[in-house]
Symmetry: C2
Subunit: 216 residues, 2 copies
């Protein structure tokens, strides 16, 4: 689509708007996730790109618009990642366990996304939030969880009367916290929980906790 027809020649400077935008976006995502909106510096972003500050303003207008674009792109990536999970052919317990395990790993592997959400929460909606993006990310997750839970209740392995949103909230809290508070938690209690083994064990504990919570 946007691939230039004469792209496989020598390493001369070819023009490629999409690649330039993507490059800016990648660098900006990292900077915003690392330093927050106010803490991030347009000049620093510019230096780390393969292009110039001028191009940032050429394509994104201003800092806020760049930030909004970063957010939307991050949400889209996360949403695409979550769609890779299929668990229709598992029994409810196995399905729920897989969902928790996947969520835990997925959030663990996307620290930048977590950080952007943290930053949004600190801003508390003042001027910056993209509300639709949140709904788009979260609603499919809720739907999938609801199906599993419903099946479990019908088959008599889960107790009834649990709110799916609350259940989602409980799963999210553990998976999110694992990433968001890693720094302060390990400052207080050491790094044991954040080694490969520690994380694997913690993941299992969260699964166990959720399954015990819904068990009949």
């Amino acid at each position: 689509m946007s691939i230039p027809s004469t792209s496989n020649r020598s390493a001369a400077k070819k023009r490629n708007p999409e690649a330039v935008k993507a490059n800016i976006l990648r660098v900006a995502t990292e900077e915003f996730a690392t330093s927050g909106y106010a803490g991030a510096r347009v000049n620093v972003i510019a230096e780390k790109t393969d292009t110039s500050k001028r191009m940032i303003y050429y394509y994104f207008g201003d800092k806020k618009e760049l930030y909004r674009t970063v957010l939307e792109a991050a949400y889209r990536d996360i949403r695409l990642g979550e769609q890779q999970l299929h668990l229709n052919d598992l029994n409810p317990e196995q399905a729920l366990r897989s969902l928790v395990a996947f969520t835990f790993e997925h959030q663990r592997n996307n620290p930048q996304f977590i950080r952007l959400v943290m930053i949004e929460n600190i801003h508390e909606g003042r001027n910056l939030i993209a509300k639709e993006a949140f709904e788009e990310v979260n609603n499919p997750a809720i739907d999938r969880l609801g199906e599993i839970y419903q099946r479990g209740v019908e088959e008599g392995v889960f107790r009834s009367g649990i709110s799916v949103i609350e259940l989602h909230w409980l799963i999210s809290s553990a998976c999110f916290f694992n990433n968001s508070n890693r720094s302060t938690f390990s400052a207080a209690f050491g790094n044991d929980l954040f080694t490969e083994e520690g994380q694997s064990h913690l993941n299992q504990q969260v699964q166990e906790m959720i399954l015990r919570f819904v068990a009949n």
Copy 2:
């Protein structure tokens, strides 16, 4: 100690260094919690105090030092608040339930503290963390939880083999997330979980989840 001897006279301008410092600190805490370290403005803090920017520098030197002092004071306050809970005369299940309920409420009622911790996590230790302060806040919490758990295991009502730090982590994650992610969560799913009734119900669900997790 620092109370002036002629303090109960008319409302003339008396000098009171401690009160001035406390006033600055209160305003600064709010500003840092609201806007983050980079987002907070010394000029804004100065305007909101009963004194001047000059006095901020007179007492705190610079912005970073002011921030550090804010952090330390916030941790101290939280620690003092947590010591108000006594549950030696309860059985292990009731004690654990009370501990969870209290933690949930305590974190819910201290949004500024939560926000400062979030900000610390975004900074990830670069230049700003007060590590000792974290340990001081968290270690007593761990000790108390450890006692309850131990009693529960000895009395046969809790299963053995659970790591106290992991248990603390599980409780913390729910209570912290409840406050830290309120903004994005309610943007995605509405405000139902954050009304008085919603919070009360959620608190009970977290208690239930933890108790089922440790149950034999």
